[in-house]
């Protein structure tokens, strides 16, 4: 049973992920030399067996857990979305500008009370932090940060 009283059978989901992963890697096996194939083939088979083992365990001795159970799921999702956008836009817009907006918005997203005052404060914190790390990395450590349209 996948779900029982709001809790999920983590063995079924975990087992399926492992079986799918082993099949994905198996589908990628190409014209490998004998020496390039010994180890991956063994591990793919082991992973498949362990995945099947988890599915069997899910039937006889399942482990149920409340997954993604948290006080404010919306904040977690918002942070994940900001993080994803942050990474995808870094190369397009530029490191400093993207980080300034993403960091400030992420702090704002986690505020208990959201108003103009906290927005201003959060952009100030975000701006200072980005300025500090941008200077350290680009000027002191000489790391060429992504420039994009702006910088």
């Amino acid at each position: 049973m996948l779900k029982k009283g709001g809790a999920y059978n983590t063995d079924i989901i975990g087992g399926m992920i492992m079986i799918l992963s082993s099949l994905l890697f198996y589908s990628q096996i190409g014209n490998f030399t004998r020496f390039g194939l010994i180890f991956p083939k063994a591990i793919i088979i082991i992973l498949l067996i362990l995945g099947i083992g988890l599915m069997i365990k899910a039937k006889y001795k399942p482990h149920y857990a409340d997954i993604f159970e948290m006080e404010e799921m919306s904040k977690m999702l918002l942070i994940s979305a900001i993080g994803l956008a942050w990474v995808l836009l870094l190369d397009v817009i530029g490191f400093a500008v993207t980080s300034f907006f993403a960091l400030s918005l992420a702090i704002y997203a986690l505020e208990e009370k959201r108003n103009m005052k906290t927005l201003f404060k959060d952009f100030l914190i975000g701006g200072s932090e980005v300025a500090l790390f941008y200077t350290v990395f680009s000027r002191l450590l000489l790391v060429p940060l992504p420039e994009g349209i702006f910088f």
Partner: protein, 504 residues
């Protein structure tokens, strides 16, 4: 060895290194004191700052952060009854009651003396045990290296003894990810999923940063109110420093025994500070003439746990430096940092890069001395800083550092994407009760295991059955015995505990 140690000491004592280590110890203490920020995460976040440094400065900074973070966990354990790191669980048993009795400062100073002392004893053990072990490791050939990685993988049995199937599946999953890119023998380009960026493999440090930092940050973001800390008020007391010193050295056996327990538990794969502090606490209580006072604010409890958990840092470096096997997650990050510095963890560290290895060991000694000074002079201020950092700023800032850090390793956007995807996968798997340790372990040990297996097979081709080479060499046989013991012991312990629970 004496000459090397002297040269290493001179190399460590430069103004630059001392400043970096001072920063490392202080930053580590702050991170360790924050519940949710583990020692592993602190070390992972600092790696990108260190790889532009020279190897000695970089490794000294990382060692200092690691020591500081393990010690920092004592602050929240004593003042909030929440261990900052899992290594400080035992410190809550007596540290928090002491703080509630108005002896918060005494508990903190006692923890400072014990932690620094434990770390110093651990470093001495590291130095004197590593050299002979590295000499033995020089005799290893590919079959032995294969078995050594299998020994490393037995950590899974300790990390996931409550859910062995998931632990093993996680380990195999990590091994598969490690095979993305060019094969170590044969040169095949494998499992790139059609993405040319994967031809060079996945960046180890990026995956480690993603796996250890992102899941925890997402969890904190969804549970912000649980992050607020209510600390016990600490008042200044007369003569507290002398009393704290006396707490540790009045019963030197408890202190020394705990440090030795910590160092040796640290050497065992998978058994880090979280186990050592409880074992040492248990032994301290067992050996005490007044065991009933433990748990009510007995300073000996704080001494035992803190001396033990800080000694595990150095103990965990023994298998890493001599065999190239990280025994605990923070050691896995240090493994990645060594690779970034162009150093290959293992016995070679004691021959071709001996000056760096010895300097790293000496730097751990210095870091522990520094931890003592910072703990005594600024311990209370550090905890005030910690309580002032709100999680709403901390979470985005750490995500910012993960992005910045994973990008700056190779100036490659793909590493950042891998870090983030690794973080999301890590979060999902953690929710499904998969421990991240085995996955990371598989990722690190995969290439070494494959190289050992294939090279060993090639060596055995002259025999009628090439695979027999793995089972007939004396060191291999000894290693197989150790593997059986190491994998079987946690399973036996778990079964015994289940049986005893069933009887009760």
């Amino acid at each position: 060895m004496g000459e090397l140690l002297l040269a290493a000491t001179i190399a460590v004592f430069s103004v630059k290194n001392i400043l970096f280590m001072l920063f490392g110890v202080s930053a580590g203490m702050i991170a360790g004191a924050l519940p949710g920020l583990t020692a592993t995460m602190s070390v992972a976040l600092i790696v990108p700052f260190t790889f532009t440094m020279d190897p000695i400065s970089g490794m000294a900074t990382l060692g200092a952060i690691y020591c500081g973070a393990i010690f920092g966990g004592a602050f929240s354990a004593i003042l909030v009854n929440t261990p900052g790191t899992p290594s400080s669980i035992g410190t809550t048993f007596d540290g928090y009651p002491m703080a509630k009795q108005g002896k918060g400062e005494e508990a903190i100073f006692t923890a400072t003396f014990a932690s620094a002392g434990g770390g110093l004893i651990g470093t001495v053990i590291l130095i004197f045990l590593s050299v002979p072990l590295a000499k033995v490791a020089l005799k290893f050939g590919p079959p032995e290296y294969f078995w050594i990685t299998m020994f490393g993988l037995t950590i899974i049995a300790s990390l996931a003894s409550k859910n062995m199937l998931k632990g093993l599946a996680g380990g195999a999953f990590g091994l598969l990810i490690s095979m993305i890119g060019i094969a170590p023998i044969g040169g095949d380009v494998r499992f790139t999923m059609g993405l040319p960026a994967f031809q060079g493999g996945v960046q180890l440090i990026s995956v480690l940063i993603g796996f250890f930092c992102i899941p925890e940050m997402l969890r904190i973001a969804g549970n912000l109110s649980k992050q607020k800390m209510q600390a016990v008020n600490v008042e200044k007391q007369e003569g507290v420093l002398a009393r704290s010193f006396w707490n540790v050295f009045r019963k030197p056996f408890n202190f020394i025994r705990s440090a030795i327990i910590g160092a040796f538990v640290g050497i065992l794969p998978g058994a880090g500070g979280n186990i050592a502090n409880l074992v040492a606490y248990n032994e301290a209580q067992r050996a005490s003439k007044e065991p009933e006072t433990f748990g009510t604010g007995n300073p000996q409890g704080v001494v035992a746990t803190e001396a033990a958990n800080n000694a595990t840092v150095e103990g965990g470096m023994v298998p890493l430096l001599t065999l190239g096997i990280p025994g605990a997650p923070p050691a896995a990050i240090i493994y990645g940092a060594l690779m970034l510095q162009g150093l290959r963890p293992g016995p070679e560290l004691f021959s071709s890069s001996a000056h760096i290895t010895y300097a790293f060991m000496v730097s751990l000694f210095v870091a522990n001395l520094m931890m003592f000074v910072v703990g005594i002079l600024g311990g209370r201020s550090i905890f005030k800083i910690v309580t002032m950092i709100p999680a709403k700023i901390l979470v985005p800032s750490i995500i910012f550092l993960t992005i910045l850090g994973s990008y700056s390793i190779r100036n490659n956007m793909m590493d950042v994407i891998v870090m983030l995807i690794g973080g999301f996968i890590g979060y999902l798997l953690k929710e499904l009760n998969f421990h991240p340790g085995p996955i990371v372990l598989g990722l690190i040990l995969g290439p070494i295991a494959e190289k050992g297996l294939v090279q060993g097979f090639l060596m055995g081709l002259s025999r009628s059955n090439p695979w027999t080479i793995f089972f007939t060499r004396p060191i291999s046989i000894a290693l197989i015995g150790i593997i059986i013991f190491s994998a079987g012991w946690p399973v036996y312990r778990e079964l015994k505990s289940k049986y005893q629970k069933g009887e009760n």
